[in-house]
């Protein structure tokens, strides 16, 4: 029998084919085996996908002219890939020289991470792009001589990784810090805005984070959804006015040795806050200093967060109520004996003096407690309380800033109320308000009897659309005629008094206030809250300004310390707001 003989070529072909078949069979086996499936599933589960949370960029905050007050900027985390050929000595020395850090802390971090078997360790964070670029340049220079850090004897920054991320930034530093609040970016994804606009509008500014599962497999690439940034806010604040007001406030707080100072500038026609300044304040970029600067959280923005007895400035509301009710007129006579007995409680003037026969202008000019207590008695408790309610005394102003404090007004029928309570409330004792609340009440006098709701946000920009916030009337406690009468009365009293609040060329109305500070043991001697509220120009008020100095040391009197602060603010305000002097406006009116 003869067997077929394979040629050498055919034999080789057959051998190679068999080898191919074996390889393919093994491939199929590997692909379909249970072990492979298990491994594949484990790899998919562990490394195939990542859960990604995309945080939108936090919305920016602008002043009324579009100047950025709060934005975001990129900083870097610098870390080390522990699987690389890293040179711990070079890294420690470079960081010590460039970032002034203790090299031992770098050694410690790396050693600790290595011992725990980590593959990455974060060495520093919040490093500016400029410093990172410098470091990257140095890294490249070392890499040119010692690629990938293979030579242990040559320096290398191999293995350093730079991860950018955003942080909140306040380019104006301390400007309007009490209005803006702050965003504690070091708290990472759990951070929320605190105080001011950052606190009040935190949800809007933060936007809506999106969480999604993203495949690492490039074949299964999914489209990342575009995350719209948080809403931008345009404030009513005027940056220039804010800066001038802060500068004036800081100067006067320092000059008079006051514990703190507060100043608010508002447009009485709209309720828009043009400036809201407090002293001291923080640099919001260093928000962690807040606990050192402020003894109590309520002091962060004293304009809204702190209530105090306003003292004599409160007299303007009592006077307005009585004039509006028709009980008195500016020329109504009053015989001041220097003391008034109300249900056994004796009320004296601030200087314990008797001023004799005066009219209502004289009452305000000399700030007579006895006169205003008498006016309140003429009004009667029910009417007095109704007017205070109409002026929203004892209620929050609902300004759009976080942390507004208020104290309910003690009215007839409330525990501890007596007629003497009302008599003292008439001149600002036994009643407490936050500056913004009193400003809102007083704005009725500067705006034809209409009280505008104070607000700080002018527009909200979201998804490419700008929504403007409309001004709202919070109430009309008095008529336009009454408002004009009180304004004129106050203007005359300032002029007769030759008040330090007056600004050449402009007619202004206003009132000083010096309030003793209540304690559990009665009112303190020698420690006061000095305030001034004023508006102008009298014939068409464009601004209302409130200032408060807490416990000034150079003088306790509002007329001495608060009135000049008001003047300093107004003298710059009229320039910044393009308000011409009385003479020019009258000339213009006569030409028309």
């Amino acid at each position: 029998m003869k067997f077929p003989v394979l040629s050498r070529t055919a034999f080789l072909g057959l051998l190679l084919s068999m080898l191919g078949v074996v390889i393919i069979a093994q491939m199929v086996n590997i692909q379909t085996s249970a072990v492979h499936r298990e491994l594949s599933e484990m790899a998919d589960e562990k490394y195939g996908y990542e859960v990604k949370t995309i945080y939108p960029e936090r919305g920016s905050i602008y002043d009324r002219w579009g100047n950025l007050l709060a934005g975001n900027k990129a900083v870097y985390e610098i870390g080390l890939d522990l699987g690389s050929n890293y040179h711990v000595n070079t890294i420690a020395e470079t960081f010590s020289a460039d970032f002034k850090v203790d090299p031992r802390s770098i050694y410690g971090k790396i050693e600790n991470a290595r011992m725990h078997g980590y593959s990455y360790v974060a060495l520093m964070d919040y490093i500016s792009p400029e410093k990172v670029n410098k470091l990257k340049k140095l890294q490249s220079e070392f890499a040119a001589v010692n690629p990938a850090g293979r030579e242990q004897s040559a320096p290398s920054l191999s293995g350093l990784l730079f991860s950018p991320h955003m942080i909140r930034s306040y380019p104006e530093d301390t400007l309007a810090a009490s209005v803006l609040g702050f965003f504690p970016y070091k708290e990472g994804s759990n951070a929320h805005g605190y105080y001011g606009v950052e606190g009040q509008y935190d949800d809007l500014l933060a936007g809506q984070p999106i969480q999604m599962t993203v495949s690492r497999n490039p074949y299964q690439l999914t489209e990342l959804p575009s995350t719209p940034p948080g809403a931008d806010l345009v404030l009513t604040i005027d940056r220039e006015i804010q800066a001038q007001v802060e500068a004036a406030l800081d100067k006067h707080v320092k000059a008079h040795g006051a514990l703190s100072g507060t100043a608010i500038v508002e447009d009485p026609e709209t309720g828009e806050i043009l400036a809201m300044a407090t002293s001291p304040r923080i640099d919001a970029n260093k928000y962690w200093t807040a606990s050192q600067v402020f003894k109590q959280p309520t002091h962060f923005n004293t304009a809204v967060g702190t209530i105090y007895e306003p003292g004599s400035i409160f007299k303007i509301l009592t006077m307005a109520a009585a004039i509006d009710k028709g009980i008195i007129k500016p020329e109504t006579p009053f015989l001041d004996t220097g003391v008034l007995n109300v249900d056994g409680y004796e009320i004296y003037n601030w200087d314990d003096q008797a001023y004799g026969p005066v009219d209502m202008i004289g009452c305000m000019q000399h700030s007579l407690n006895v006169c205003l207590a008498w006016i309140a008695l003429q009004l009667g408790p029910q009417t007095f309380d109704e007017y205070m309610e109409a002026f929203h005394i004892g209620h929050p102003s609902n300004i759009d800033l976080a942390g507004e404090a208020y104290l309910p007004f003690r009215a007839q029928g409330d525990p501890g109320w007596s007629k003497s309570t009302m008599a003292t409330q008439a001149f600002g004792q036994g009643v407490a308000v936050a500056p913004v609340q009193f400003l809102m009440a007083a704005s009725a006098l500067a705006n034809d009897g209409k009280m505008m709701a104070p607000h700080i946000v002018r527009s909200i920009v979201r998804d490419g659309v700008q929504y403007n916030v409309n001004s709202q009337v919070a109430g009309s406690p008095i008529t336009a005629e009454s408002a004009a009468t009180v304004t004129e009365l106050l203007a005359k009293s300032l002029e007769i008094e030759s008040s330090k609040a007056l600004v050449d060329g402009y007619r202004l109305a206003g009132k000083t206030g010096t309030a003793e500070i209540p304690t559990p043991y009665g009112y303190t001697m020698g420690r006061t809250n000095a305030s001034f509220i004023g508006w102008g120009p009298v014939d068409d008020p464009k601004f209302i300004v409130y200032v408060w100095l807490e416990q000034p040391k150079s003088s306790i009197w509002g007329s001495v310390v608060a009135a000049p602060l008001f003047r300093d603010i107004v003298s710059q305000l009229v320039v910044l707001m393009d308000i011409p002097p009385e003479e020019f406006r009258q000339k213009l009116a006569s030409q028309e």
């Binding site: 002219w65 579009g66 990129a74 950018p164 380019p171 530093d173 700008q466 393009d578």
Partner: protein
């Protein structure tokens, strides 16, 4: 004669082997061609995927850069820095008495910031391409017929 040559060629053993081998190699080549094509397309898809991921990262990086630059610009033009620069240039703050006012009829004054369109301004823009170029033949016929019947009904 021709038949004889053909017959000889067809029955030459080495030619038969070459034909078989040729067929086998052609099949192998075709298989590798298909595999190569598959690998090439897979490679391109993977590259595109990675490029897209890199572009996403780049977009994020650019977004951060823009935000940073905006903040840096605000820092450079901040009140304190502008004031310092103005003072360096010899400017002084004016007092109300030093200001000369001029009435300009019709001047509305400085306008507040407009960062985006107001809700009323959000009308959809008119399409650049006329509908005649985009509608289907069916739509054209249908709408044409509807138009004709509508006109005749009037």
């Amino acid at each position: 004669m021709t038949f004889k040559i053909m017959h000889t060629f067809q029955h030459a053993p080495w030619r038969i082997k070459f034909r078989g081998l040729g067929g086998f190699l052609t099949a192998i080549a075709a298989l590798f061609l298909v595999l190569g094509l598959f690998l090439s397309i897979s490679g391109q898809a993977a590259t595109a995927g990675l490029e897209l991921r890199a572009m996403n990262d780049e977009r994020e990086s650019i977004r951060q850069e823009i935000a940073s630059m905006r903040t840096t610009m605000a820092d450079i033009t901040s009140v304190s820095k502008m004031r310092a620069r103005a003072e360096e240039l010899g400017y002084q703050r004016v007092s109300p008495a030093e200001v000369t006012y001029l009435f300009v009829s019709g001047y509305p004054g400085r306008q507040t910031a407009v960062l985006a369109a107001s809700p009323g301004e959000l009308n959809m823009p008119e399409p650049v391409i006329k509908p005649a170029f985009t509608r289907s033949l069916w739509d054209w016929v249908f709408q044409g017929l509807a138009q004709v019947s509508g006109t005749s009904g009037q």
